[in-house]
Symmetry: C2
Subunit: 328 residues, 2 copies
Protein backbone atom coordinates (compact mmCIF):
# COMPACT_ATOMS: atom_id res chain seq x y z
CA UNK A 1 0.00 0.00 0.00
CA UNK A 2 1.23 3.47 -0.96
CA UNK A 3 1.43 5.58 2.17
CA UNK A 4 0.26 9.17 2.42
CA UNK A 5 3.36 11.38 2.49
CA UNK A 6 3.24 14.10 5.12
CA UNK A 7 5.44 17.11 5.76
CA UNK A 8 5.68 19.20 8.91
CA UNK A 9 6.36 22.93 8.88
CA UNK A 10 7.65 24.13 12.25
CA UNK A 11 9.18 21.92 14.88
CA UNK A 12 7.78 23.10 18.21
CA UNK A 13 5.49 21.17 20.54
CA UNK A 14 2.93 20.64 17.81
CA UNK A 15 5.45 19.59 15.17
CA UNK A 16 6.96 17.07 17.57
CA UNK A 17 3.46 15.82 18.30
CA UNK A 18 2.80 15.21 14.61
CA UNK A 19 6.13 13.42 14.27
CA UNK A 20 4.98 11.14 17.05
CA UNK A 21 1.39 10.68 15.82
CA UNK A 22 2.56 9.55 12.39
CA UNK A 23 4.05 6.44 14.01
CA UNK A 24 0.60 5.40 15.22
CA UNK A 25 -0.99 5.58 11.78
CA UNK A 26 0.06 2.87 9.35
CA UNK A 27 -1.25 4.55 6.23
CA UNK A 28 0.87 7.71 6.58
CA UNK A 29 4.59 8.45 6.62
CA UNK A 30 6.64 11.51 7.40
CA UNK A 31 8.73 12.66 4.42
CA UNK A 32 10.27 15.87 5.70
CA UNK A 33 10.34 18.40 8.51
CA UNK A 34 10.68 21.98 7.28
CA UNK A 35 12.24 24.60 9.52
CA UNK A 36 13.21 28.25 9.44
CA UNK A 37 16.22 27.40 11.58
CA UNK A 38 19.44 25.97 10.18
CA UNK A 39 18.39 22.36 9.36
CA UNK A 40 21.56 20.87 10.84
CA UNK A 41 20.83 22.60 14.17
CA UNK A 42 17.52 20.74 14.58
CA UNK A 43 17.55 17.57 16.65
CA UNK A 44 14.49 15.55 15.62
CA UNK A 45 13.25 12.42 17.36
CA UNK A 46 12.74 10.28 14.25
CA UNK A 47 15.12 9.79 11.31
CA UNK A 48 13.11 12.20 9.16
CA UNK A 49 14.94 14.49 6.76
CA UNK A 50 15.14 18.09 8.01
CA UNK A 51 14.94 20.70 5.26
CA UNK A 52 15.14 24.47 5.17
CA UNK A 53 11.73 25.97 4.58
CA UNK A 54 13.32 27.98 1.75
CA UNK A 55 13.52 24.79 -0.29
CA UNK A 56 9.92 23.79 0.27
CA UNK A 57 8.93 24.38 -3.35
CA UNK A 58 11.19 21.54 -4.46
CA UNK A 59 9.02 19.19 -2.44
CA UNK A 60 5.79 20.00 -4.28
CA UNK A 61 5.54 16.59 -5.87
CA UNK A 62 7.05 14.65 -3.00
CA UNK A 63 4.53 15.48 -0.30
CA UNK A 64 0.80 14.77 -0.24
CA UNK A 65 -0.18 16.92 2.73
CA UNK A 66 1.72 19.59 4.62
CA UNK A 67 0.85 20.03 8.30
CA UNK A 68 1.49 23.58 9.41
CA UNK A 69 2.56 23.68 13.04
CA UNK A 70 3.21 27.39 13.49
CA UNK A 71 1.39 29.88 15.66
CA UNK A 72 -1.88 31.63 14.87
CA UNK A 73 -0.64 35.14 15.64
CA UNK A 74 1.92 35.62 12.90
CA UNK A 75 2.89 32.29 11.25
CA UNK A 76 -0.34 30.78 9.94
CA UNK A 77 -1.95 33.93 8.47
CA UNK A 78 1.03 34.03 6.09
CA UNK A 79 1.99 30.36 5.75
CA UNK A 80 -1.37 28.73 5.12
CA UNK A 81 -2.35 30.91 2.13
CA UNK A 82 1.21 30.67 0.78
CA UNK A 83 1.58 26.90 0.97
CA UNK A 84 -2.01 26.14 -0.08
CA UNK A 85 -0.97 27.21 -3.57
CA UNK A 86 1.44 24.25 -3.74
CA UNK A 87 0.28 21.66 -1.21
CA UNK A 88 -2.76 20.21 0.46
CA UNK A 89 -2.44 21.77 3.90
CA UNK A 90 -3.79 21.44 7.43
CA UNK A 91 -3.52 24.12 10.07
CA UNK A 92 -4.71 24.66 13.63
CA UNK A 93 -5.50 28.37 13.30
CA UNK A 94 -7.24 29.18 16.57
CA UNK A 95 -7.91 32.92 16.66
CA UNK A 96 -11.69 32.45 16.61
CA UNK A 97 -12.53 36.03 15.61
CA UNK A 98 -10.22 35.98 12.58
CA UNK A 99 -11.33 32.62 11.16
CA UNK A 100 -13.65 34.10 8.48
CA UNK A 101 -10.83 36.29 7.12
CA UNK A 102 -8.29 33.46 7.27
CA UNK A 103 -10.75 31.17 5.49
CA UNK A 104 -11.16 33.60 2.59
CA UNK A 105 -7.42 34.06 2.15
CA UNK A 106 -6.69 30.34 2.24
CA UNK A 107 -9.63 29.53 -0.01
CA UNK A 108 -8.35 31.77 -2.82
CA UNK A 109 -4.93 30.13 -2.75
CA UNK A 110 -6.20 26.58 -2.53
CA UNK A 111 -8.54 27.08 -5.48
CA UNK A 112 -5.72 28.51 -7.58
CA UNK A 113 -3.48 25.62 -6.53
CA UNK A 114 -6.14 22.93 -7.01
CA UNK A 115 -5.46 21.85 -3.44
CA UNK A 116 -7.48 21.13 -0.32
CA UNK A 117 -6.75 23.20 2.79
CA UNK A 118 -8.42 22.33 6.08
CA UNK A 119 -8.07 25.09 8.66
CA UNK A 120 -8.72 25.42 12.40
CA UNK A 121 -8.20 21.73 13.08
CA UNK A 122 -7.59 20.56 16.65
CA UNK A 123 -9.91 20.35 19.61
CA UNK A 124 -11.02 23.96 20.09
CA UNK A 125 -11.50 24.98 17.36
CA UNK A 126 -12.00 21.50 15.94
CA UNK A 127 -13.65 18.69 17.87
CA UNK A 128 -15.39 21.11 20.23
CA UNK A 129 -16.73 23.06 17.23
CA UNK A 130 -18.04 19.84 15.68
CA UNK A 131 -19.88 18.98 18.85
CA UNK A 132 -21.33 22.47 19.20
CA UNK A 133 -22.57 22.23 15.62
CA UNK A 134 -24.04 18.73 15.76
CA UNK A 135 -25.73 19.47 19.10
CA UNK A 136 -27.22 22.74 17.83
CA UNK A 137 -28.60 21.08 14.72
CA UNK A 138 -30.24 18.37 16.83
CA UNK A 139 -31.56 20.50 19.69
CA UNK A 140 -32.47 23.87 18.16
CA UNK A 141 -34.06 25.07 21.40
CA UNK A 142 -31.29 25.15 24.00
CA UNK A 143 -28.16 26.65 25.47
CA UNK A 144 -24.48 26.01 24.79
CA UNK A 145 -21.79 25.80 27.42
CA UNK A 146 -18.05 25.37 26.97
CA UNK A 147 -15.70 24.84 29.91
CA UNK A 148 -11.96 24.52 29.54
CA UNK A 149 -9.62 22.56 31.76
CA UNK A 150 -8.33 21.37 33.97
CA UNK A 151 -5.36 22.41 31.91
CA UNK A 152 -2.28 24.53 31.49
CA UNK A 153 -2.88 27.87 29.81
CA UNK A 154 0.27 29.03 28.05
CA UNK A 155 -0.88 32.65 27.94
CA UNK A 156 -1.65 32.82 31.64
CA UNK A 157 1.58 31.03 32.57
CA UNK A 158 3.49 33.61 30.54
CA UNK A 159 1.59 36.40 32.33
CA UNK A 160 2.61 35.03 35.73
CA UNK A 161 6.24 34.87 34.67
CA UNK A 162 6.19 38.57 33.79
CA UNK A 163 5.31 39.51 37.40
CA UNK A 164 8.17 41.04 39.38
CA UNK A 165 9.64 38.56 41.84
CA UNK A 166 8.51 35.49 39.88
CA UNK A 167 11.21 33.15 38.66
CA UNK A 168 8.95 30.59 37.02
CA UNK A 169 5.30 29.52 37.08
CA UNK A 170 2.46 27.53 35.61
CA UNK A 171 -1.22 28.37 35.51
CA UNK A 172 -4.09 25.90 35.40
CA UNK A 173 -7.54 26.85 34.17
CA UNK A 174 -10.12 24.85 36.15
CA UNK A 175 -13.87 24.59 35.48
CA UNK A 176 -15.97 25.43 38.55
CA UNK A 177 -17.60 22.14 39.55
CA UNK A 178 -20.78 23.80 40.82
CA UNK A 179 -21.39 25.51 37.46
CA UNK A 180 -20.72 22.31 35.53
CA UNK A 181 -23.16 20.40 37.74
CA UNK A 182 -25.82 23.05 37.32
CA UNK A 183 -25.55 22.73 33.53
CA UNK A 184 -25.69 18.93 33.74
CA UNK A 185 -28.80 19.22 35.89
CA UNK A 186 -30.56 21.11 33.05
CA UNK A 187 -30.80 24.27 35.15
CA UNK A 188 -29.68 26.40 32.17
CA UNK A 189 -27.74 28.80 34.40
CA UNK A 190 -26.53 32.19 33.22
CA UNK A 191 -22.91 32.18 34.32
CA UNK A 192 -20.44 35.01 34.85
CA UNK A 193 -16.77 34.61 33.98
CA UNK A 194 -15.97 34.07 37.66
CA UNK A 195 -18.66 31.42 38.04
CA UNK A 196 -17.38 29.31 35.13
CA UNK A 197 -13.64 28.98 35.69
CA UNK A 198 -11.12 29.42 38.44
CA UNK A 199 -7.37 29.84 38.09
CA UNK A 200 -4.66 27.99 39.98
CA UNK A 201 -1.12 29.30 39.88
CA UNK A 202 2.06 27.47 40.87
CA UNK A 203 4.81 29.99 41.37
CA UNK A 204 8.55 29.81 42.02
CA UNK A 205 9.78 33.02 43.64
CA UNK A 206 13.01 34.85 42.90
CA UNK A 207 15.30 35.00 45.91
CA UNK A 208 14.20 37.75 48.27
CA UNK A 209 10.85 38.33 46.55
CA UNK A 210 7.84 39.27 48.68
CA UNK A 211 5.22 36.53 48.38
CA UNK A 212 2.38 38.78 49.59
CA UNK A 213 3.19 41.32 46.89
CA UNK A 214 3.55 38.69 44.16
CA UNK A 215 0.23 37.11 45.10
CA UNK A 216 -1.45 40.50 45.08
CA UNK A 217 0.08 41.41 41.72
CA UNK A 218 -1.10 38.18 40.14
CA UNK A 219 -4.62 38.23 41.57
CA UNK A 220 -5.31 41.80 40.50
CA UNK A 221 -3.88 41.53 37.00
CA UNK A 222 -6.59 42.79 34.60
CA UNK A 223 -7.89 40.49 31.80
CA UNK A 224 -5.84 37.55 33.02
CA UNK A 225 -6.81 37.12 36.69
CA UNK A 226 -8.88 39.93 38.18
CA UNK A 227 -12.19 38.51 36.92
CA UNK A 228 -11.50 35.06 38.39
CA UNK A 229 -11.08 33.41 41.75
CA UNK A 230 -7.37 32.79 41.71
CA UNK A 231 -5.27 30.66 44.02
CA UNK A 232 -1.51 31.13 44.23
CA UNK A 233 0.71 28.32 45.50
CA UNK A 234 4.39 28.98 46.13
CA UNK A 235 6.55 25.97 45.36
CA UNK A 236 10.20 25.13 44.79
CA UNK A 237 11.81 25.00 41.39
CA UNK A 238 12.22 21.22 41.75
CA UNK A 239 8.55 20.79 42.57
CA UNK A 240 7.54 22.81 39.53
CA UNK A 241 9.74 20.71 37.31
CA UNK A 242 8.62 17.43 38.79
CA UNK A 243 4.87 18.01 39.06
CA UNK A 244 4.04 20.71 36.53
CA UNK A 245 6.12 20.14 33.43
CA UNK A 246 3.47 18.30 31.42
CA UNK A 247 0.91 20.05 29.24
CA UNK A 248 -2.41 18.52 30.23
CA UNK A 249 -5.66 20.06 29.09
CA UNK A 250 -9.24 19.26 28.27
CA UNK A 251 -12.71 20.60 28.72
CA UNK A 252 -16.41 20.18 28.22
CA UNK A 253 -18.89 21.14 25.53
CA UNK A 254 -22.49 20.83 26.63
CA UNK A 255 -25.80 21.60 25.05
CA UNK A 256 -28.87 21.65 27.20
CA UNK A 257 -32.05 21.54 25.12
CA UNK A 258 -35.77 20.97 25.32
CA UNK A 259 -38.24 18.99 23.24
CA UNK A 260 -41.93 18.13 23.53
CA UNK A 261 -45.17 19.85 22.65
CA UNK A 262 -44.93 21.77 25.91
CA UNK A 263 -41.11 21.72 26.03
CA UNK A 264 -41.48 19.34 28.93
CA UNK A 265 -38.44 17.16 28.20
CA UNK A 266 -34.84 18.13 28.89
CA UNK A 267 -31.82 16.68 27.17
CA UNK A 268 -28.10 17.07 27.75
CA UNK A 269 -25.49 16.37 25.09
CA UNK A 270 -22.03 16.38 26.60
CA UNK A 271 -18.62 16.03 25.01
CA UNK A 272 -15.49 16.08 27.08
CA UNK A 273 -11.77 15.60 26.73
CA UNK A 274 -9.20 14.75 29.39
CA UNK A 275 -5.76 15.02 27.84
CA UNK A 276 -2.35 14.31 29.32
CA UNK A 277 -0.69 16.16 26.47
CA UNK A 278 -2.47 18.99 24.71
CA UNK A 279 0.02 19.20 21.78
CA UNK A 280 0.15 15.43 21.21
CA UNK A 281 -3.64 15.16 21.14
CA UNK A 282 -3.99 18.17 18.84
CA UNK A 283 -1.39 16.60 16.54
CA UNK A 284 -3.38 13.38 16.44
CA UNK A 285 -6.38 15.35 15.21
CA UNK A 286 -4.20 17.08 12.60
CA UNK A 287 -2.98 13.75 11.20
CA UNK A 288 -6.53 12.37 10.89
CA UNK A 289 -7.56 15.49 8.95
CA UNK A 290 -4.41 15.24 6.80
CA UNK A 291 -5.72 11.85 5.71
CA UNK A 292 -9.04 13.51 4.87
CA UNK A 293 -7.40 16.30 2.88
CA UNK A 294 -5.49 13.76 0.83
CA UNK A 295 -8.60 11.73 0.01
CA UNK A 296 -10.74 14.79 -0.77
CA UNK A 297 -8.11 16.14 -3.14
CA UNK A 298 -7.81 12.72 -4.82
CA UNK A 299 -11.55 12.97 -5.47
CA UNK A 300 -10.97 16.26 -7.26
CA UNK A 301 -11.97 18.64 -4.51
CA UNK A 302 -10.20 21.92 -3.87
CA UNK A 303 -10.47 25.04 -1.72
CA UNK A 304 -10.56 25.80 1.97
CA UNK A 305 -12.56 23.60 4.32
CA UNK A 306 -13.20 23.35 8.02
CA UNK A 307 -14.20 20.39 10.18
CA UNK A 308 -17.82 21.20 9.30
CA UNK A 309 -17.20 20.41 5.62
CA UNK A 310 -15.54 17.03 6.02
CA UNK A 311 -17.66 13.89 6.22
CA UNK A 312 -16.43 11.74 9.13
CA UNK A 313 -15.56 8.78 6.87
CA UNK A 314 -12.62 10.67 5.36
CA UNK A 315 -10.83 10.72 8.73
CA UNK A 316 -10.60 6.97 9.05
CA UNK A 317 -8.13 4.62 7.37
CA UNK A 318 -10.88 1.98 7.28
CA UNK A 319 -13.06 1.30 4.26
CA UNK A 320 -16.72 2.32 4.26
CA UNK A 321 -17.73 -1.34 4.54
CA UNK A 322 -15.47 -1.85 7.53
CA UNK A 323 -16.78 1.29 9.21
CA UNK A 324 -20.40 0.27 8.77
CA UNK A 325 -19.67 -3.19 10.06
CA UNK A 326 -17.53 -2.32 13.05
CA UNK A 327 -18.51 1.14 14.22
CA UNK A 328 -22.09 1.94 13.24
Amino acid sequence: MEKIKLGIVGYGNLGRGVECAVRQNEDVELSAIFTRRAPESLKVKSDTEVVSVKEIENWKDKIDVLILCGGSATDLPVQTPEYAKMFNVIDSFDTHAKIPEHFENVNKSAIVGNKVAIISVGWDPGLFSLNRMYANAILPDGNDYTFWGKGVSQGHSDAIRRVEGVKDGKQYTVPVEKALQSVKNCENPILTTREKHKRECYVVLEEGANPKQVEEDIKTMPNYFSDYDTTVHFISEEELKQNHSKMPHGGFVLRSGKTGFDKENNHIIEYSLKLDSNPEFTSSVLVAYARAAYKLNKEGQKGCKTVFDVAPRYLSPKSDEELRKSML
Copy 2:
Protein backbone atom coordinates in the same frame (compact mmCIF):
# COMPACT_ATOMS: atom_id res chain seq x y z
CA MET B 1 -38.18 30.81 2.11
CA GLU B 2 -39.43 27.52 0.68
CA LYS B 3 -39.60 25.00 3.53
CA ILE B 4 -38.43 21.39 3.29
CA LYS B 5 -41.53 19.19 3.08
CA LEU B 6 -41.39 16.15 5.32
CA GLY B 7 -43.58 13.08 5.53
CA ILE B 8 -43.82 10.58 8.39
CA VAL B 9 -44.50 6.88 7.85
CA GLY B 10 -45.77 5.24 11.05
CA TYR B 11 -47.32 7.08 13.96
CA GLY B 12 -45.88 5.48 17.09
CA ASN B 13 -43.59 7.09 19.66
CA LEU B 14 -41.04 7.97 17.02
CA GLY B 15 -43.58 9.36 14.55
CA ARG B 16 -45.07 11.53 17.27
CA GLY B 17 -41.55 12.67 18.15
CA VAL B 18 -40.91 13.78 14.57
CA GLU B 19 -44.25 15.59 14.48
CA CYS B 20 -43.09 17.49 17.54
CA ALA B 21 -39.51 18.11 16.38
CA VAL B 22 -40.69 19.68 13.12
CA ARG B 23 -42.18 22.55 15.15
CA GLN B 24 -38.73 23.42 16.48
CA ASN B 25 -37.13 23.70 13.03
CA GLU B 26 -38.20 26.72 11.00
CA ASP B 27 -36.91 25.47 7.67
CA VAL B 28 -39.01 22.27 7.60
CA GLU B 29 -42.74 21.54 7.57
CA LEU B 30 -44.79 18.39 7.92
CA SER B 31 -46.88 17.66 4.83
CA ALA B 32 -48.43 14.30 5.66
CA ILE B 33 -48.49 11.43 8.12
CA PHE B 34 -48.84 8.04 6.42
CA THR B 35 -50.38 5.15 8.29
CA ARG B 36 -51.38 1.53 7.72
CA ARG B 37 -54.38 2.09 9.97
CA ALA B 38 -57.60 3.72 8.78
CA PRO B 39 -56.52 7.38 8.47
CA GLU B 40 -59.70 8.66 10.11
CA SER B 41 -58.96 6.51 13.18
CA LEU B 42 -55.66 8.29 13.84
CA LYS B 43 -55.68 11.16 16.32
CA VAL B 44 -52.62 13.30 15.57
CA LYS B 45 -51.38 16.17 17.70
CA SER B 46 -50.87 18.70 14.90
CA ASP B 47 -53.27 19.58 12.06
CA THR B 48 -51.26 17.48 9.60
CA GLU B 49 -53.09 15.53 6.92
CA VAL B 50 -53.29 11.81 7.68
CA VAL B 51 -53.08 9.57 4.61
CA SER B 52 -53.29 5.85 4.00
CA VAL B 53 -49.88 4.46 3.21
CA LYS B 54 -51.46 2.86 0.14
CA GLU B 55 -51.66 6.29 -1.45
CA ILE B 56 -48.07 7.21 -0.77
CA GLU B 57 -47.09 7.12 -4.45
CA ASN B 58 -49.36 10.05 -5.15
CA TRP B 59 -47.19 12.12 -2.82
CA LYS B 60 -43.96 11.58 -4.77
CA ASP B 61 -43.72 15.18 -5.90
CA LYS B 62 -45.24 16.71 -2.80
CA ILE B 63 -42.70 15.51 -0.24
CA ASP B 64 -38.96 16.21 -0.09
CA VAL B 65 -37.98 13.69 2.55
CA LEU B 66 -39.86 10.78 4.09
CA ILE B 67 -38.99 9.86 7.67
CA LEU B 68 -39.62 6.17 8.29
CA CYS B 69 -40.68 5.60 11.88
CA GLY B 70 -41.34 1.85 11.83
CA GLY B 71 -39.49 -0.91 13.65
CA SER B 72 -36.24 -2.52 12.63
CA ALA B 73 -37.46 -6.10 12.94
CA THR B 74 -40.04 -6.21 10.15
CA ASP B 75 -41.00 -2.70 8.97
CA LEU B 76 -37.79 -1.03 7.86
CA PRO B 77 -36.17 -3.95 5.98
CA VAL B 78 -39.16 -3.73 3.60
CA GLN B 79 -40.12 -0.06 3.76
CA THR B 80 -36.76 1.66 3.36
CA PRO B 81 -35.79 -0.10 0.10
CA GLU B 82 -39.34 0.31 -1.20
CA TYR B 83 -39.72 4.02 -0.50
CA ALA B 84 -36.12 4.92 -1.44
CA LYS B 85 -37.20 4.34 -5.06
CA MET B 86 -39.60 7.28 -4.82
CA PHE B 87 -38.44 9.51 -1.98
CA ASN B 88 -35.40 10.73 -0.15
CA VAL B 89 -35.69 8.73 3.06
CA ILE B 90 -34.33 8.59 6.61
CA ASP B 91 -34.62 5.57 8.86
CA SER B 92 -33.41 4.56 12.32
CA PHE B 93 -32.61 0.92 11.50
CA ASP B 94 -30.85 -0.31 14.61
CA THR B 95 -30.19 -4.03 14.22
CA HIS B 96 -26.41 -3.56 14.21
CA ALA B 97 -25.58 -6.96 12.74
CA LYS B 98 -27.89 -6.50 9.76
CA ILE B 99 -26.79 -2.99 8.80
CA PRO B 100 -24.49 -4.09 5.93
CA GLU B 101 -27.31 -6.09 4.30
CA HIS B 102 -29.84 -3.31 4.84
CA PHE B 103 -27.37 -0.80 3.37
CA GLU B 104 -26.98 -2.81 0.17
CA ASN B 105 -30.73 -3.20 -0.33
CA VAL B 106 -31.45 0.45 0.27
CA ASN B 107 -28.52 1.56 -1.87
CA LYS B 108 -29.80 -0.27 -4.95
CA SER B 109 -33.23 1.33 -4.65
CA ALA B 110 -31.96 4.81 -3.97
CA ILE B 111 -29.62 4.73 -6.96
CA VAL B 112 -32.45 3.59 -9.24
CA GLY B 113 -34.67 6.31 -7.80
CA ASN B 114 -32.02 9.04 -7.91
CA LYS B 115 -32.70 9.63 -4.25
CA VAL B 116 -30.67 9.93 -1.05
CA ALA B 117 -31.39 7.45 1.75
CA ILE B 118 -29.71 7.89 5.14
CA ILE B 119 -30.07 4.81 7.33
CA SER B 120 -29.40 3.97 10.98
CA VAL B 121 -29.92 7.52 12.16
CA GLY B 122 -30.52 8.22 15.85
CA TRP B 123 -28.18 8.05 18.81
CA ASP B 124 -27.07 4.41 18.81
CA PRO B 125 -26.60 3.74 15.96
CA GLY B 126 -26.12 7.36 15.03
CA LEU B 127 -24.46 9.90 17.30
CA PHE B 128 -22.70 7.20 19.31
CA SER B 129 -21.38 5.67 16.08
CA LEU B 130 -20.08 9.06 14.97
CA ASN B 131 -18.24 9.50 18.22
CA ARG B 132 -16.77 6.00 18.09
CA MET B 133 -15.53 6.72 14.58
CA TYR B 134 -14.07 10.16 15.18
CA ALA B 135 -12.37 8.98 18.38
CA ASN B 136 -10.88 5.90 16.69
CA ALA B 137 -9.51 7.97 13.82
CA ILE B 138 -7.87 10.37 16.27
CA LEU B 139 -6.55 7.88 18.81
CA PRO B 140 -5.64 4.73 16.85
CA ASP B 141 -4.06 3.11 19.89
CA GLY B 142 -6.80 2.69 22.46
CA ASN B 143 -9.94 1.02 23.73
CA ASP B 144 -13.62 1.73 23.15
CA TYR B 145 -16.30 1.61 25.79
CA THR B 146 -20.04 2.10 25.40
CA PHE B 147 -22.37 2.24 28.40
CA TRP B 148 -26.12 2.60 28.07
CA GLY B 149 -28.48 4.25 30.53
CA LYS B 150 -29.72 5.14 32.90
CA GLY B 151 -32.71 4.37 30.73
CA VAL B 152 -35.77 2.34 30.03
CA SER B 153 -35.19 -0.75 27.93
CA GLN B 154 -38.33 -1.65 26.03
CA GLY B 155 -37.21 -5.22 25.44
CA HIS B 156 -36.42 -5.88 29.08
CA SER B 157 -39.64 -4.23 30.26
CA ASP B 158 -41.55 -6.52 27.90
CA ALA B 159 -39.65 -9.51 29.30
CA ILE B 160 -40.67 -8.62 32.86
CA ARG B 161 -44.30 -8.31 31.84
CA ARG B 162 -44.26 -11.84 30.48
CA VAL B 163 -43.36 -13.27 33.93
CA GLU B 164 -46.21 -15.04 35.70
CA GLY B 165 -47.67 -12.91 38.47
CA VAL B 166 -46.54 -9.61 36.92
CA LYS B 167 -49.26 -7.13 36.05
CA ASP B 168 -46.98 -4.38 34.75
CA GLY B 169 -43.36 -3.34 34.94
CA LYS B 170 -40.52 -1.16 33.73
CA GLN B 171 -36.84 -2.00 33.51
CA TYR B 172 -33.96 0.46 33.73
CA THR B 173 -30.50 -0.32 32.38
CA VAL B 174 -27.93 1.40 34.59
CA PRO B 175 -24.18 1.74 33.96
CA VAL B 176 -22.08 0.51 36.87
CA GLU B 177 -20.47 3.63 38.31
CA LYS B 178 -17.28 1.81 39.33
CA ALA B 179 -16.67 0.56 35.78
CA LEU B 180 -17.34 3.98 34.29
CA GLN B 181 -14.90 5.59 36.74
CA SER B 182 -12.24 3.00 35.95
CA VAL B 183 -12.52 3.83 32.25
CA LYS B 184 -12.37 7.57 32.95
CA ASN B 185 -9.25 6.99 35.04
CA CYS B 186 -7.50 5.50 31.99
CA GLU B 187 -7.27 2.10 33.63
CA ASN B 188 -8.40 0.38 30.40
CA PRO B 189 -10.33 -2.30 32.29
CA ILE B 190 -11.56 -5.49 30.66
CA LEU B 191 -15.16 -5.63 31.76
CA THR B 192 -17.63 -8.49 31.92
CA THR B 193 -21.29 -7.98 31.11
CA ARG B 194 -22.09 -7.94 34.85
CA GLU B 195 -19.41 -5.37 35.57
CA LYS B 196 -20.67 -2.89 32.97
CA HIS B 197 -24.41 -2.64 33.58
CA LYS B 198 -26.92 -3.45 36.26
CA ARG B 199 -30.67 -3.80 35.86
CA GLU B 200 -33.37 -2.21 38.00
CA CYS B 201 -36.92 -3.49 37.73
CA TYR B 202 -40.09 -1.81 38.96
CA VAL B 203 -42.84 -4.38 39.14
CA VAL B 204 -46.58 -4.27 39.82
CA LEU B 205 -47.81 -7.67 41.00
CA GLU B 206 -51.06 -9.39 40.02
CA GLU B 207 -53.33 -9.90 42.98
CA GLY B 208 -52.24 -12.95 44.95
CA ALA B 209 -48.89 -13.32 43.18
CA ASN B 210 -45.89 -14.54 45.16
CA PRO B 211 -43.26 -11.78 45.21
CA LYS B 212 -40.40 -14.18 46.10
CA GLN B 213 -41.20 -16.31 43.09
CA VAL B 214 -41.58 -13.35 40.73
CA GLU B 215 -38.25 -11.91 41.87
CA GLU B 216 -36.58 -15.29 41.39
CA ASP B 217 -38.12 -15.73 37.93
CA ILE B 218 -36.94 -12.32 36.79
CA LYS B 219 -33.41 -12.56 38.19
CA THR B 220 -32.73 -15.96 36.66
CA MET B 221 -34.16 -15.22 33.20
CA PRO B 222 -31.47 -16.14 30.67
CA ASN B 223 -30.16 -13.50 28.21
CA TYR B 224 -32.21 -10.74 29.80
CA PHE B 225 -31.24 -10.81 33.49
CA SER B 226 -29.17 -13.80 34.59
CA ASP B 227 -25.85 -12.22 33.53
CA TYR B 228 -26.55 -9.02 35.45
CA ASP B 229 -26.95 -7.82 39.01
CA THR B 230 -30.66 -7.20 39.05
CA THR B 231 -32.76 -5.39 41.63
CA VAL B 232 -36.52 -5.90 41.78
CA HIS B 233 -38.73 -3.25 43.43
CA PHE B 234 -42.40 -4.00 43.97
CA ILE B 235 -44.55 -0.92 43.63
CA SER B 236 -48.21 -0.02 43.19
CA GLU B 237 -49.84 0.59 39.84
CA GLU B 238 -50.24 4.28 40.70
CA GLU B 239 -46.58 4.59 41.57
CA LEU B 240 -45.58 2.99 38.27
CA LYS B 241 -47.80 5.37 36.36
CA GLN B 242 -46.65 8.42 38.27
CA ASN B 243 -42.90 7.80 38.44
CA HIS B 244 -42.10 5.46 35.57
CA SER B 245 -44.19 6.43 32.56
CA LYS B 246 -41.53 8.53 30.81
CA MET B 247 -38.97 7.04 28.43
CA PRO B 248 -35.64 8.45 29.59
CA HIS B 249 -32.41 7.07 28.24
CA GLY B 250 -28.83 7.97 27.54
CA GLY B 251 -25.37 6.58 27.79
CA PHE B 252 -21.67 7.07 27.35
CA VAL B 253 -19.20 6.46 24.55
CA LEU B 254 -15.60 6.63 25.66
CA ARG B 255 -12.29 6.09 23.99
CA SER B 256 -9.21 5.75 26.10
CA GLY B 257 -6.05 6.12 24.04
CA LYS B 258 -2.33 6.66 24.32
CA THR B 259 0.15 8.90 22.52
CA GLY B 260 3.82 9.70 22.91
CA PHE B 261 7.06 8.11 21.80
CA ASP B 262 6.83 5.79 24.77
CA LYS B 263 3.01 5.84 24.91
CA GLU B 264 3.39 7.79 28.11
CA ASN B 265 0.37 10.05 27.67
CA ASN B 266 -3.25 9.01 28.23
CA HIS B 267 -6.27 10.67 26.72
CA ILE B 268 -9.99 10.22 27.26
CA ILE B 269 -12.60 11.27 24.72
CA GLU B 270 -16.06 11.05 26.23
CA TYR B 271 -19.47 11.62 24.72
CA SER B 272 -22.59 11.29 26.77
CA LEU B 273 -26.31 11.80 26.50
CA LYS B 274 -28.87 12.28 29.25
CA LEU B 275 -32.32 12.23 27.69
CA ASP B 276 -35.72 12.73 29.25
CA SER B 277 -37.40 11.26 26.18
CA ASN B 278 -35.61 8.71 24.05
CA PRO B 279 -38.11 8.88 21.14
CA GLU B 280 -38.25 12.68 21.07
CA PHE B 281 -34.47 12.97 21.03
CA THR B 282 -34.12 10.30 18.35
CA SER B 283 -36.72 12.15 16.29
CA SER B 284 -34.74 15.37 16.61
CA VAL B 285 -31.74 13.58 15.12
CA LEU B 286 -33.93 12.21 12.30
CA VAL B 287 -35.14 15.69 11.37
CA ALA B 288 -31.60 17.10 11.25
CA TYR B 289 -30.57 14.27 8.89
CA ALA B 290 -33.72 14.80 6.81
CA ARG B 291 -32.43 18.31 6.16
CA ALA B 292 -29.10 16.79 5.12
CA ALA B 293 -30.75 14.27 2.77
CA TYR B 294 -32.67 17.07 1.08
CA LYS B 295 -29.55 19.20 0.55
CA LEU B 296 -27.42 16.28 -0.65
CA ASN B 297 -30.06 15.24 -3.18
CA LYS B 298 -30.36 18.87 -4.38
CA GLU B 299 -26.63 18.71 -5.07
CA GLY B 300 -27.19 15.69 -7.29
CA GLN B 301 -26.20 12.96 -4.88
CA LYS B 302 -27.96 9.62 -4.68
CA GLY B 303 -27.67 6.25 -2.99
CA CYS B 304 -27.57 4.99 0.58
CA LYS B 305 -25.58 6.85 3.20
CA THR B 306 -24.93 6.62 6.91
CA VAL B 307 -23.92 9.26 9.45
CA PHE B 308 -20.30 8.58 8.45
CA ASP B 309 -20.94 9.85 4.93
CA VAL B 310 -22.61 13.14 5.77
CA ALA B 311 -20.48 16.23 6.38
CA PRO B 312 -21.70 17.98 9.55
CA ARG B 313 -22.58 21.22 7.71
CA TYR B 314 -25.52 19.54 5.97
CA LEU B 315 -27.30 19.03 9.30
CA SER B 316 -27.54 22.71 10.13
CA PRO B 317 -30.02 25.26 8.79
CA LYS B 318 -27.26 27.87 9.04
CA SER B 319 -25.08 28.98 6.13
CA ASP B 320 -21.42 27.97 6.00
CA GLU B 321 -20.40 31.56 6.75
CA GLU B 322 -22.66 31.66 9.80
CA LEU B 323 -21.35 28.32 11.04
CA ARG B 324 -17.73 29.37 10.74
CA LYS B 325 -18.45 32.66 12.48
CA SER B 326 -20.59 31.38 15.32
CA MET B 327 -19.60 27.79 16.02
CA LEU B 328 -16.03 27.13 14.93
